[in-house]
Symmetry: C2
Subunit: 348 residues, 2 copies
Amino acid sequence: MIEDKNQQRTQLSDLGEFGLIDHLTGNFKITQSSTIKGIGDDAAVLEFKNKQIVVSTDLLVEGVHFDLSYMPLKHLGYKAVVVNLSDVYAMNAKATQITVSIAVSNRFPLEALEDLYAGIETAARIYNIDVVGGDTTSSNKGLLISVTAVGEVDSGDVVYRNGAKPNDLLVVTGDLGGAYMGLQVLEREKEVFKVNPNNQPDLDLYSYIIERQLKPEARKDIVKLLADLEVKPTAMIDISDGLSSEIMHICTQSKVGCDLYEEKIPLDPQVISTCEEFNVDSTTVALNGGEDYELLFTISQDDYPKIKANPNFSVIGHIKEASAGLHLVTRADARIPIKAQGWKNFNA
Amino acid sequence: MIEDKNQQRTQLSDLGEFGLIDHLTGNFKITQSSTIKGIGDDAAVLEFKNKQIVVSTDLLVEGVHFDLSYMPLKHLGYKAVVVNLSDVYAMNAKATQITVSIAVSNRFPLEALEDLYAGIETAARIYNIDVVGGDTTSSNKGLLISVTAVGEVDSGDVVYRNGAKPNDLLVVTGDLGGAYMGLQVLEREKEVFKVNPNNQPDLDLYSYIIERQLKPEARKDIVKLLADLEVKPTAMIDISDGLSSEIMHICTQSKVGCDLYEEKIPLDPQVISTCEEFNVDSTTVALNGGEDYELLFTISQDDYPKIKANPNFSVIGHIKEASAGLHLVTRADARIPIKAQGWKNFNA
């Protein structure tokens, strides 16, 4: 919401397509032994010996998935990478390479794209992946980013969504609802800014949840931790759309039901206090908010001793036969069916 | 240009995101032994034993790369796949899987997306590849398609852009300029249609070049043919931006120069006649037109006997030392430096 009026602006057309690609991707270093050839040919060339390869792709659209009035471009680049890596980790795999394509209107100067790519480069460095390709083109309106991630996994270690069995425990990492409440705070500040552009918001009270929205992290550490603990989940998914949607994916694909305990859903104190301030129900936020990029998985009860003391994990329910259905068990011990949320994007 | 007023229209929001994905991708069959898991989890899972893997990605934007007023959606789906496969073949690799992501505004009903996916499915069947993932989201404006292709190649067989050596021959497949001239005809007919919507154009005279524009094919056959002929190119690229741009890529990356002979550039008679009709120079069209998706490659002179009788190939020049520069040798024996075209998309 703070605009630097003195920023330098270089027109994209000054560079030409190939000059632009070279300029933006010149900092990307190749560190993966599986990367034989990165950016600069018709395709990247990778080599994985006796590994299975996972491939995941996501598309982020301005005005649908992000709002540049409060999302700095560097954060956007970082987040675009992270949300894709999260899908790779949800397969219990190691992310190794990404491709990044962008469509961008003439309203963006070169410096804006440099910020975007600085965020991409930071994410690539922190998560130790190679950027091996992409496409850069113009759009009629706005900015769009498409990321495809490639990862590797030993054949016996891959975890699908469809392996949950009755009596398995339902486990989630971290805490939920923060990204959604961070978005609510940012949306409110945007409205305040429209009325009074000189207002400098004090967002210290919301620092955790705003960071969850603007700079989420993917749980690479969990894949390593599960391996160290010798726990192989029976099913796993990342939480991009919200807990209820992800539980439904696991239960539908595994052909099982489940009980989810409201009191077990992990919430950060800042989420609880902000929900009170906004007068929204924190359970609803955790169930439907999305964008937390935590991992949701199921494990055999035999593995419970290995995870029970670990602060990264919360057991939030258990798997039942399909005929039992999917239910939220409330604090008042009511059983409420878990339902799908509509596709918000198309209902807007 | 012919609109069916009675067509059925189903709102995308009626289906929801997951219903839509299931609906559109339900026809996709898995045929590749390297596809362990296709659509329906956080990522696709692939396995290639002792092969190198190539990955290529392209982004197509409405109003920039295609115009739906003359591009039927089924053709667009087909073309979006083909242009990506072309990059895989340009690595001398076999295409095996793709992911397809689309961003689409509410102006498109379900039936439009069904047409788009019918084209994708047709291309997948004809080129024998699996569709293993993707993302479907809404856009504020228009349609955008992002395709990522994966292929495999024996480590010794991969061909980069950077292997051309002085005295190598410069070879192109098929003929050039057709896709560009087809576009000129379609643009002209669009203008006529605006003035008189009842005019039914007679496009028989232009059938070949219009097909080159609306339904291009990737040269999968050439990869097989080169293997059968036991010719491994020293460098290869596909012709998406135009012959001059692709020659410059090969020469820059290989650190060589070249002579290109105008009289050797293969042109279809329909390209020549349409260039005369539009009063444009056919050599300029072949050099800068783009979108032909033919393959341009260099071979050692020792391999010349293996290709010389084959109607798929035209030898159009030869590689020189870098210090000699890059030149077009005209029919009048003038030597004109080959220059880069600007990035048309950003100059528009």
